[in-house]
């Protein structure tokens, strides 16, 4: 009975939509969500970290092949896509800010859709220009990797191919994360349109933003490691 009474008293308070009753208040709920998302992102750091560790080790063993491989990539695609992703991080942050400051759902959706367009641009550049270029240049690892047309590679050729494997697995894994991110953003647009968020409750926006920015950070490291540190002045 006393539980029922307590519950009834609880109901009397005005709670924002989305507030879960196991939490003391919305601030505690937000912290729990943020902490949980970061726990997931820590596993993501170690997931990508495995590839970065392998890249550090194999680059130190086969530097010449990795530098030759790095010079095969088109820097303009990498640089443009870095800028596009940074723009998308800004629009994502502004979407969350719109929710925080109690702006209408129209404004939140505008920033979310802009973020999706920029994310789609990143993937569009990558698939239709960059990877197509790699395919035509015969630098995709496999049976048609262009050994015979590149006598200057000599004994380094297997390690050039190893670099290209790292390049496709690392940027491919990143691209999969981008596609998942676009799916998450679609859900957020629908939730916003259904008026699920307010200045007091916007946890799904906040933690999805953490994911989106994390994927941006992975690219911030992939860009110099794959495209730049081979030294473009040598090309």
């Amino acid at each position: 009975m006393s539980e029922m009474a307590a519950h009834g008293a609880h109901e009397a308070h005005a709670h924002p939509p989305g507030f879960a009753h196991q939490f003391e208040d919305v601030a505690q709920q937000k912290e729990a969500g943020t902490l949980g998302m970061w726990a997931f992102l820590v596993t993501e750091i170690l997931f990508f970290g495995g590839m970065f560790t392998a890249y550090i080790i194999y680059r130190s063993l086969h530097l010449a092949g990795f530098i030759t491989g790095s010079h095969l990539l088109e820097v303009k695609f990498g640089a443009i896509n870095t800028a596009v992703l940074i723009c998308s991080s800004l629009t994502m942050a502004l979407a969350i800010r719109s929710a925080q400051t109690g702006k209408g759902r129209g404004q939140i959706i505008w920033w979310l859709v802009l973020t999706m367009i920029l994310g789609a641009m990143f993937l569009g550049f990558k698939f239709t220009f960059e990877w197509r270029h790699d395919y035509l240049e015969h630098i995709v690892p496999g049976a048609y990797f262009g050994f015979e047309n590149r006598p200057e590679w000599g004994a380094n050729a297997p390690y050039v191919q190893m670099f290209m494997c790292f390049y496709f697995f690392m940027t491919g894994l990143h691209a999969i994360h981008m596609i998942v991110g676009l799916g998450i953003l679609t859900v957020l647009v629908v939730m916003t349109a259904r008026n699920k968020f307010s200045s007091e409750y916007y946890n799904p926006l906040e933690i999805s933003g953490l994911y989106w920015h994390f994927v941006d950070i992975v690219w911030i490291f992939l860009f110099p490691l794959l495209y730049l540190i081979g030294g473009l002045y040598k090309r």
């Binding site: 820590v42 970290g49 080790i57 820097v75 942050a93 502004l94 800010r97 950070i217 860009f223 540190i229």
Partner: protein, 120 residues
Amino acid sequence: MALMSEHTGHTGHVVPVSTYVLVFLALMVGTALTTGVAYIDLGRWNTVVALTIAVTKMLLVVLFFMHVKYATGLTRIVILAGFFWLGIMITLSLSDELTRGWEINPASWGGIIPFLLHIF
């Protein structure tokens, strides 16, 4: 930090738009800078400069876009633990590689690895 909501009337710190724009501009300048530096021969320092700029850009995104500057101590410890474990993975993997007598190119990673070998 958790009490901040009582002062602002919102849950969580509202970062001014000007801060976001400044961080965005710094990230764009960093991208242009790191690309430009790759065309200049700085010897071993090319790698060091590229990684320093990347880490700086990461810190800007983490602190401001991901609101870690305004996060609670608990969240910060979890994040630091993540990077600490990444450090363990890289360090122990390297300690294996470096003690097998494999031919490691001293010019790779801006000479950081031979430098580590020299210390230990």
